[in-house]
Amino acid sequence: MDRAIRRLFYVFVAMFVGLILMLTYVQVWSAPKLKVNPANTRAVEEEMKIERGLIISQDDQVVAKNVQQGQYFLRQYPFGDVTEPWLGYNNLRYGRAGVERVYNEQLTGQAGLLGVTGSWSQILGKNQRGSDLKLTVSMKVQEVAAKALGERKGAVIAIDPKTGAILAEVSYPRYNPNTLTEDWKTLNADEGRPLLNRAIQGLYPPGSTFKIIVASAALQTGQVTPSTDFNDTGTVTEYGYVVHNFDNKVYGDHDFQKAFASSINTTFAKVGVKLGADTLSEYARAFGFGQGLPWSLGGATSRFPDPAGMDQAHVAQASIGQGEILASPMMMALAACAVANNGTIMKPYIVDHVLSYNNAIIETTEPSAWLHPITPATAATLKTLMIQVVKSGTGTAAAISGVQVAGKTGTAEVANGDSHAWFAGFAPADDPQVAVIVLVENGGSGGAVAAPIARQVMAAALGK
């Protein structure tokens, strides 16, 4: 009997060893896979215990805060859809986007020195508290921009050309992050694509705003000066492609300054063809085409066609911002910044600094240069051309009394529907504080539709 009992014990030992092996397999070997299983809600729960940092605008408005519910913190966005598209969301179900995504580490207190204090408070069983973000965005400008664009599809960006600090960024249609969970299905089915951040992800033919880049190339290569004379007969035919002026106007004899101010297509087609595909492509690239936007929030890469495949018809088209050129609103805002900031494009940024829970600055964004597409001299010349646009050309609707505004309108033809209305500009011209881009999809002419929006946004940024 003893032998049988002993054997029985060995059987139990084997069974219990089996338990330990299986337990080790589950808790150690397959744990990493189980932790990221989509059906596993524990990661989300873990994060909900962290008191995320506040997100505060440049003018001290809280744009993202927490509501405590038991041991959990739920995110709330006091401005609703106005702070989209850049703020994004921190959603239990659909993850994160925008600033909430890019600065998640700081907001949850996992970055830098705070990571250490974070784990200490975890050991002490206290709630973690993340860092606050102080943004460059001014809610005053943001609200004016959102209101000015209204319920028109499009995007508006206001940026400090000297630093690259984003003052406002609007995209319409947009979504309300507070009701994202309920709206998710509708938002995804919506043909207006409200989840798309048009300001950085949308790609559009830039139309005449691209003439800023063509003029830069022509001026810097010495091809033209503001006083170079041209003659317009209403049309120009390049390789079978007929270039018309806007509204089929005929301007007759004029100089380059007039061509820029009135956005004379025939003259730019001639200048562009003379510069050639390679030079245009080179300058487009110098302004940032073909390169990813230099910031953490990403965006679409603006495109200029491969010069090797361009005939004169293509070049003529490209010279007036049509054809295969596609630019994001942010790209065109940065082009305006280059002129405003003596030929240097600063990298855009939206978070000015990161504050620990006891208000110590633990991270500051230092403005840094991205590209130098043109010399300060060329920039100065271009600035005078852009001032003329607002003073006497197509962009008079952007003028602000008492402030010298520089700009360029664009009316980009699209295959179906009305033209896209563009305006790129900055103010005050002698000491630029704000650069603005406005795009209204199928909005009509840039001068009539986009320029007034730009005026309101610039006025708000300048405190007018």
Binding site: A4, Q27, V28, A39
Partner: protein, 450 residues
């Protein structure tokens, strides 16, 4: 050190665990818990102090490890319950009081286990009756008919039936074991007894199949079959019975798999819980997530994600069937292994008691009780970690549940009684031998004090 004092020393870990554990949970959840809740810890300490004193008085020479292991398992269970729901911990603490009373009553009333032999048929009838009643008027909870509900009281007769039936079967085997070991033929070199000697085996097999059919529970069936088979094996020493028994059980289970939906569902979930992770596979999937989040060292007491925002536990039946998942999450692999090793120690000590016993009945009784205890722990732990198909039974001494706590304390009392008797018998035998000059008494007592 004397056996009795050794037990007192081994109770110290449980004391430390209780004090530290309750203090820890209190610290973590201080917002929702009051200081008075810490009295559960004190109550628990008082309980095991009384248990120890009772044991010291009633069964002074019994095994000194079984009670401390029980104390550790109970304290861990109470701790986890306190963390899941303090109200449940209070109820469990009351059940522990009842269990302790039952423990002392059994110790006091069974001076000699052989007294049970006289009532063996009554034990058997009572055991079967409990199960029949459950199958008849039992309520189906979590897919198995294991509960009788009378007003606010939920009663699990199976827990008591297991002690009664083991006692009956042990007594029955004492009578027939001589016959069962007689073999007349050999088939392929294996001793093959006449067919009628297979009767006990076929009886327990039929009994298990009936359990599966009427209680819709694979686990209870496996539990009884495993323990009774272990008894037959130990009684006869014949592996033959085990082989035939396992084959029969597999045939029966396979047959039921195809006939009964609930068996099929259980097995299918076990094979692939991910197919319906938010439906039928939810419990086991959440249990695996729970274990995975615990990792090696666990998230710490009170730090796991056991309770949802709406106040419900993330796994239904977390306090009973899935308490091991909660342990795995908060105390990690280390804690889970600790629990498993505690069950292994209990099993080892239980079988040691069986081997030390001087009469066949005590040996078989202890073997059976220890086996059913070990198999129960294996089935539920194996179920929640997806080693075997999941079945809803309690984790002895750890899970919430009055029937389980009381029945297992009675089981413990029987083991301690047997252990004490064995020590006394041995001492008496040595004294007789010492009196006739065969062995010096000093060495005998020296061994006892070890």
């Amino acid at each position: 050190m004397s056996v009795r004092n050794r037990e007192l020393v081994f109770l110290l870990p449980a004391l430390v665990l209780t004090t530290l554990g309750f203090a820890l949970v209190y610290t973590v959840k201080s917002e929702t818990l009051s200081w008075s809740s810490l009295t559960y810890g004190l109550l628990f300490l008082a309980l095991f102090a009384i248990a120890h004193l009772g044991r010291r008085f009633l069964v002074p020479d019994a095994d000194p490890y079984l009670l401390p292991v029980t104390a550790l398992l109970s304290t861990l269970g109470l701790l986890l319950l306190y963390r899941i729901d303090p109200d449940l911990a209070l109820k469990q603490a009351m059940w522990l009081v009842v269990g302790l009373v039952a423990f002392l009553l059994v110790l006091a009333s069974t001076r000699d286990l052989r007294g049970l032999l006289r009532h063996k048929y009554w034990l058997g009838i009572a055991g079967v009756l409990l199960l029949v009643i459950t199958a008849g008027i039992g309520r189906n909870i979590n897919g198995s008919k294991l509960w009788i509900v009378v007003g606010p009281i939920h009663f699990q007769p199976g827990e008591f039936a297991k002690v009664l039936l083991i006692a009956f079967f042990a007594a029955y085997l004492v009578d027939v074991r001589e016959v069962l070991t007689v073999s007349t033929r050999r088939v392929l070199g294996v001793p093959f007894p006449p067919f009628r000697y297979l009767a006990p085996l076929l009886t327990i097999w039929g009994f298990s199949i009936l359990l599966m059919v009427f209680m819709k529970d694979l686990g209870t069936s496996l539990l009884f079959f495993g323990a009774l088979l272990a008894l037959i094996y130990v009684a006869t020493g014949r592996a033959f019975y085990v082989v035939v028994g396992v084959v029969l059980f597999l045939i029966g289970a396979t047959g039921l798999y195809f006939v009964f939906g609930h068996v099929q569902t259980r097995v299918d979930i076990w094979l692939d819980p991910w197919k319906d992770a938010s439906g039928s596979g939810y419990q086991i999937v959440q249990s695996l997530f729970s274990l995975a989040s615990g990792g090696l060292f666990g998230r710490g007491l009170g730090q796991g994600y056991l309770i949802l925002q709406n106040g419900n536990p993330i796994i239904p039946h977390l306090e009973s069937d899935f308490i091991f998942s909660a342990i795995g999450e908060e105390l990690g692999l280390v804690g889970g292994m600790g629990i498993i090793l505690l069950y292994l120690i209990f099993t080892y000590r239980g079988l040691r008691v069986a081997m030390a016993s001087r009469n066949d009945f005590a040996r078989l009784l202890c073997t059976g009780l220890t086996s059913i205890f070990a198999i129960q722990a294996f089935i539920i732990i194996g179920g929640v970690i997806k080693l075997i198909p999941l079945t809803g039974i309690t984790l002895p001494f750890v899970s919430y549940g009055g029937s389980s706590v009381v029945a297992n304390f009675m089981l413990l009392a029987l083991l301690l009684r047997a252990s004490d008797s064995a020590a006394r018998d041995k001492l008496a035998a040595e004294k007789r031998a010492g009196a006739s000059g065969a062995a010096p008494a000093a060495s005998a007592s020296g061994r006892r004090d070890g």
